[in-house]
């Protein structure tokens, strides 16, 4: 009996790629979102700002407007597609920035130790202890708003997690082992950190990225919903929900389509992230 129980997972492990159904669906959804984001211009049936005044607030299921139209007769599907592009652009851009900033600071802390390390750790503590939404709102209040600023601002979200991870792993790599060996070969610090330490800790960093990514989506959509993130005529998922809120009683579909997209995308990235974490790095959290 135990033999049978042992054999089944072993056989399953041999099959490649060994991906649970939920993770498969999640990857499929993210892939679809990426395709939509990249080919938004080709896929969108209408321009996202184009009015169709004869078809205002038309219901979903209408052959001309599958997801209906809004108050001004703009096609909800087309707006959704463009919103996905903007929201994903911000989320990917911000996640990449925060991973780069955090990892760099973590490496600097590990390399110089002493004061540099204390400063990085102090900033990380500060970042972790202040609600990011409030800091973000403060910056937006002082600087006004633009897409690059928004991406840069979101890029400051979560950097402290990468910094802590990168610092810890780099210190342990430096203390003994391959990094020390390569350094005594005469390698420059850049070479040690980028060619050796980074590839060795990449899986842990990637897992952290999948944990930060959904939070960035939620943060951006929250700011945009409040009217403080992406500004019209540009549109994002949170923006659409915020706009749809005005027509909640008459045309709830305007709000529901982007809301569902936000929830499913966040869920999908979380599912992938949990799976990757179990697979690559069970030590995290």
């Amino acid at each position: 009996m135990t033999d049978v129980a042992m054999k089944v997972p072993a056989a399953r492990r041999l099959r490649w790629p060994n991906i649970p159904v939920s993770v498969g669906i999640a990857i499929g959804w993210i892939a679809a979102m990426l395709v939509v984001a990249i080919f938004a211009d080709q896929i969108a049936p209408y321009g996202f700002t184009k009015f169709d005044l004869r078809n205002r607030l038309s219901l979903p299921g209408n052959p001309a407007h599958w997801l209906g139209t809004d108050e001004l007769g703009r096609d909800v599907l087309s707006r959704l597609i463009v919103s996905i592009r903007i929201s994903l652009l911000i989320a990917f851009g911000a996640t990449a920035i925060s991973a780069i900033v955090g990892t760099t600071l973590g490496f600097l802390a590990a390399h110089f130790r002493g004061l540099v390390e204390q400063a990085v750790l102090m900033l990380a503590d500060f970042q972790a202890s202040m609600p990011f939404l409030i800091l973000a709102l403060a910056v937006l209040a002082f600087f006004g708003n633009s897409l690059p600023l928004l991406i840069g601002l979101m890029g400051l979200f979560g950097w402290e997690r990468y910094a802590r991870i990168a610092r810890g792993l780099a210190i342990s790599a430096n203390a003994q082992g391959y990094a020390a060996a390569v350094r005594q070969l005469g390698a420059t610090p850049q070479r040690v950190y980028l060619k050796h330490i980074l590839p060795n800790i990449a899986s842990t960093l990637i897992v952290s990225m999948t944990l930060v990514f959904p939070e960035v989506i939620l943060l951006e959509s929250g700011l945009s919903f409040l009217g403080l993130g992406v500004q019209p005529p540009m549109t994002s998922l949170g923006n659409m929900v915020g706009y749809g809120r005005e027509y909640l009683t008459r045309a709830p579909w305007i709000m529901l389509a982007p809301a569902v997209t936000i929830v499913v995308t966040t869920l999908a990235v979380s599912v992938i992230g949990d799976w990757l974490r179990d697979k690559l790095d069970p030590t995290l959290q």
Binding site: A181, L185, G186, T188
Partner: protein, 330 residues
Amino acid sequence: MTTPLLEVSEISRTYRMRAGLFGRPTSVHAVDGLSFSIPKGETLGIVGESGSGKSTTGRMVLGLEPPDHGSVRFDGAPIAAPGTATWRAQRARMQMIFQDPLGALDRRLPVAEQIREPLDIHNIGSKAERDARVHELLHAVDLNDGHGRRYPGALSGGQRQRIVLARALATKPDFLVCDEPVSALDVSIQAQVVNLLVDLQARLGLTMLFISHDLRVVRQISSKVAVMYLGRIVEYGDADDLFARPQHPYTQALVSASPAPGRRSTGRIVLSGDPPNPAARPSGCAFHPRCRLATARCKAEVPVLTALDPQRQVACHLVTGAPAQTQDAA
């Protein structure tokens, strides 16, 4: 007489340790006023228990950490401060073999790429020349190109150590420090790696500092041997002679504890007392609490390394001291 390739004079290294953040800091004299030199093409073996400061010596000799006092001169010039460009350039001429070959290799790169890395770092040769050199090095350590394509995890301990050796030799260095290079390996593999080292040393005319706690290995590979105890050299001499007639009581104990073919089995000297702790160095001769011959003078006075004859130096009151002081012995 040839000028020595490596000249070490009076180097010391002290670590400060604390028990917790608010504990009182204590100084640990890892290495205390060490001097020796290695002529070109020769191998000096350093023997000692853990805590004797032999690894710290290896690191200071390579310039991986600077000595607090004293100087290390390599080929007539001082070693640059760690991390500087000059220091990095010097790495091409001096290399290190580590105790743990798996830890010393990057698990995410094929080993051939790691052998090639010193050539990339020091920008030696064209791409084709580097490839040829990697091929040559793999063969020099009795491996083939197939091994080169593997990752460290797919090689055995002995094969990994040969990869580390090949990488260390890539830039044709003059000087090699081997820190316990075989102690992490199976006994059956140790001999292969040691033989390879002896062979390469002879073939390439390498100068080596060979650190080990294993007397047999040291004897096989070294021309001169230094015995270290708590940061100081207690005995120094020609390898075969030193092991054949050890003078210092500590060396005698070490030699008696190590079985060797052809040596008459005299009574084994068992060391009593605590193993050496560099944080609590005994007064006088650091070995006196464990020495079966210790006298009152040994507790009070630090013995100086003194030439017994041109081939042998010993730091022991009983061996070098005035006869009047030895009456308490026996």
